[in-house]
């Protein structure tokens, strides 16, 4: 097998990966970014509304208020040291992005434009804060392109359209690189480095109704599970309240931040009943449950009563054209509705994975080992949606995702610089790892039975939608897991029609399905065990939050579907802890 060696390898070319790569390239290290798509095709590009940081450009603000909102939004499952770190760093990161060239929208005084977003308050739960920094409603696009451009300037090496297969470790457990597949010519390539960072994004394609790009198949999560490492809090999936009904594409929370609101079939502003204070800008889990309840109780709109309406026309043509041009385009194209004229049909859509690869606030992957629950795996890092720091806990606030990418992308990149200096010599990869990875790859050249990748993928996504959606119960989850086991059996009988080498996307989709199956398994097993309702995880059979038993993080390992738990880090870095209390908006 061909081999390439670097100081560091970044797997994934989205916001988190590119931010980390930039730190390494700027420090003079030889860094490669491996991505299965050209980097600007990464899902960061779809982020719309903005990046939250207490700049105070519109009204008085403080990172400490932002921290409170994030802790409360997480339903107290977020680690408070990591949350303090993120909120403290936020402003400096936004300024750094601006200096890099990110074309933020501007206020009359020339400062960065900020808008209202859900769950953001002043003074620890007071009135609505205006905190989310925006580039119209294309903030993710602007951020991703800016970071890609900076990496071009810094001469980062890009391996575009290389698919990451498996982590490679040495006999002592150090991560020494990974196996990849060159999509264009179908050849495997071993990539060695003293430090490897996973920034492979989310896995929303595990649901049939999702805002996620087709590439969001949890590839890094599969790699971690196959390397006998655990995943954290996989039961927590955010359903965004306003996906375009029947399509799933996102209408930013910024639409409500700019003054839009939700209506049911009676023309009622139903959020008044669910969140009398914050109304339509309550936290996403709250608004999604409200919409699901309205639909369930027969107050949905349309022929099938399966959605509600998002009203924006009262904002006027000018505001919509200036601040929400992207979602107007999406709405006209996919819903046939111009929001400047009539309301957009919306329903909750699977959007974001709060769980992921467990890390500390340096981005180091941490697992239970001899001396405690959080020992670093040497040479292995993870950041962004694939990671679980955990700053989002049981529910992420809007605008905190782009922030997570750049804060921890930078922190991990900086930590890797130190790690590389302390570990100057490469280690020898374990042959067994490499051989196992190649066996998995070569399996797809054998014809085994009549199942297809497209067929199993469709069934998997429908299964997760039906058995692991907004509302869950033991009975439904158990049935879902049972059916998933059936699908695992049928995976063995998949045959590919295409066994060629050059740009064989059938084989890529098969490898992606393997990863999605593991993500589904981790999700269902973790969700079945958590007998409480917290944040986005709503159990009809356990409707209350149960801090006595469940104020802890889940750790799922593939071998034997083993579940373990570790405490939430309730102690911040420098300020007083926010004690768990009842959460209302």
């Amino acid at each position: 097998m061909d081999k390439r060696s670097f100081d560091a390898i970044i797997v994934g070319g989205g916001g988190a990966g590119l931010m980390a790569a930039l730190q390494l390239a700027d420090s003079g290290f030889k860094v490669a970014v491996v991505s299965k798509v050209f980097p600007t095709r990464s899902h960061t590009v779809s982020a719309q509304g903005g990046i939250t940081a207490a700049l105070g450009n519109v009204s008085e603000d403080s990172w400490h208020w932002h921290m409170f909102d994030t802790v409360k939004g997480s339903d107290y499952l977020g680690d408070q040291d990591a949350i303090e770190f993120m909120c403290r760093e936020a402003a400096s990161l936004v300024y750094e992005l601006e200096h890099m060239g990110l074309p933020f929208s501007r206020l009359e005084n020339g400062k960065i434009y900020q808008r209202a977003f859900g769950g953001q308050s002043k003074n620890f739960g007071g009135e609505q804060a205006i905190r989310t920094c925006a580039c119209a409603d294309r903030t993710g696009h602007a951020l991703l392109h800016t970071l890609y451009q900076r990496n071009l300037a810094a001469r980062t090496q890009f391996f575009d359209e290389y698919f990451a297969l498996d982590l490679v470790r040495d006999g002592e457990g150090y991560c020494v690189g990974l196996t990849t597949l060159n999509i264009e010519n179908g050849e495997p390539l071993l990539m060695e480095a003293r430090a490897t960072l996973l920034a492979t994004g989310g896995a929303g394609r595990v649901f049939s109704n999702t805002s996620n790009a087709m590439i969001n198949t949890g590839d890094g999560l599969g790699m971690v599970l196959r390397a006998d490492l655990p995943l954290e809090d996989m039961e927590f999936w955010q359903f965004h309240p306003t996906g375009i009904a029947g399509v799933g594409s996102l209408i930013t929370e910024g639409a409500r931040g700019e003054g839009g609101y939700l209506l049911n079939d009676r023309g009622e502003r139903f959020m008044e009943r669910y969140a009398p204070h914050a109304l339509d800008l309550a936290s996403r889990d709250v608004v999604s449950r409200a919409i699901a309840t309205e639909i369930y109780e027969g107050r949905g709109c349309g022929e099938h009563k399966d959605h509600v309406l998002l009203k924006l026309d009262h904002l006027g043509e000018k505001i919509i054209a200036e601040r929400l041009p992207g979602i107007r385009e999406l709405s006209i194209r996919f819903a046939g509705v111009d929001p400047a004229q009539s309301p957009i049909p919306v329903a909750p859509t699977a959007h974001y994975m709060m769980g992921g690869i467990p890390t500390n606030l340096h981005g180091q992957v941490v697992v239970p080992a001899r001396y405690g629950p959080e020992e670093p795996v040497p040479g292995l890092y993870a950041v962004g949606e694939c990671a679980c720091v955990s700053v989002h806990g049981a529910n992420r606030l809007g605008g905190n995702s782009l922030l997570d990418l750049v804060v921890f992308g930078r922190a991990a990149g900086r930590h890797m610089v130190g790690y590389l200096r302390e570990n100057p010599y490469p280690r020898k990869p374990g042959d067994e790892n490499i051989q196992r990875s190649m066996r998995r790859l070569n399996r797809w050249e054998e014809a085994r039975g009549g199942e297809t990748v497209a067929g199993i993928t469709r069934e998997l996504r429908q299964l997760m939608q039906k058995y692991c959606g907004v509302y869950r119960s033991r009975k439904v989850l158990a049935e879902g897991l049972d059916r998933l086991n059936g699908l695992f059996g049928r995976m063995e009988a998949i045959s590919l029609g295409d066994t060629s080498r050059v740009f064989n996307t059938a084989r890529i989709e098969a490898l992606e399905l393997e990863n999605l199956m593991l993500v589904a398994r981790a999700t269902l097993v973790s969700a079945l065990a958590r007998e409480e309702s917290r944040g986005a995880h709503t159990r009809e059979d356990f409707p209350a939050r149960d801090d006595d038993h469940w104020l802890k993080h889940t750790l799922y390992s593939l071998e034997g579907d083993l579940l373990d738990y570790k405490p939430v880090r309730l102690k911040p870095l420098s300020v007083e802890a926010f004690k768990p209390k009842e959460r209302s908006y």
């Binding site: 798509v37 050209f38 600007t40 095709r41 990464s42 899902h43 590009v45 779809s46 700049l55 936004v94 300024y95 601006e98 200096h99 890099m100 060239g101 074309p103 933020f104 929208s105 501007r106 206020l107 009359e108 005084n109 020339g110 400062k111 960065i112 294309r138 696009h141 602007a142 392109h145 800016t146 451009q149 900076r150 071009l152 300037a153 264009e184 790009a213 087709m214 590439i215 029947g246 594409s249 992207g326 385009e329 999406l330 194209r333 996919f334 046939g336 297809t452 990748v453 497209a454 067929g455 029609g497 295409d498 060629s500 080498r501 050059v502 740009f503 064989n504 996307t505 059938a506 989709e509």
Partner: protein, 231 residues
């Protein structure tokens, strides 16, 4: 619906050919990408790129009935049958609808697509008025899909020397940014018979852009600046 698909598989040792296929699909409310995904579910050897499926990532540009479009935002119901789908013109074909984008990205990279400003960074943001910010509207939104550049005859003839509409639009994006200090350097680079002046104002790029951007207008502004600095 009836489709004619350009098929090319280099390992087969067969020349490219057109394949006629029929698909049982109700076009109402569906996009061309939905049809491609169903075609692929039936025949997994069909290769094409796709990612966001909502017109923001720029992966799935193809040539449909002679026009460059993004498959994910092209309504099926608007297409005349048989729907003839080919790879983007003017770039080497790797397989089926997958083209080698390298010549396109090489030109993009040639214009130094990053902000150049050598002043020490201020403590907070650099200020920019809404009017100054408005100057880059219509340029920063580019998604690098390649629809415009591969619709341009000048790029077909000189892919190695003409920057092409997408690259020139990005050059304008940085020239127009009040925070960028390299305007002179950028103009020096572009003042060239091929890099900029191969644009003949045919305006295929404007028609092809799926985001409704106008590269020709931005190219015109670059030319105006070049004329102005001569007089």
């Amino acid at each position: 619906m009836k489709f004619r698909l350009y098929r090319f598989q280099p390992e087969s040792n067969q020349p490219p050919c057109m394949q006629d296929v029929e698909l049982d699909i109700d076009p109402a409310g569906k996009m061309l990408l939905d049809a491609l995904l169903e075609l692929k579910a039936k025949d997994d050897t069909l290769a094409f790129r796709r990612s966001c499926r909502e017109g923001v990532c720029g992966s799935d540009a193809v040539n449909v009935n002679g026009r460059n479009v993004l498959a994910c935002i092209t309504p099926l119901a608007d297409l005349k049958q048989p729907v003839e789908i080919r790879p983007l013109p003017g770039l080497p074909v790797i397989r089926d609808f997958v083209v080698d984008m390298e010549p396109f990205f090489r030109q993009y990279k040639s214009i130094k697509p990053w902000l150049i400003n050598d002043d020490p960074e201020p403590e907070r943001e650099r200020l920019q008025s809404p009017e100054e910010r408005a100057e880059i509207e219509g340029a920063y939104e580019c998604i690098l899909c390649g629809c415009c550049t591969t619709a341009c005859p000048s790029f077909w003839w000189h892919p190695d020397r003409f920057v092409g509409p997408a690259g020139l639009l990005q050059a304008w994006r940085f020239i127009a940014d009040s925070r960028d200090q390299a305007t002179e350097e950028r103009l020096d680079y572009l003042e060239d018979t091929y890099r900029l002046y191969r644009c003949r104002g045919i305006m295929n790029c404007v028609e092809a852009c799926p985001k409704g951007l106008n590269p020709t207008e931005s190219i015109g502004r670059i030319k105006t600046l070049l004329v102005r600095r001569k007089v």
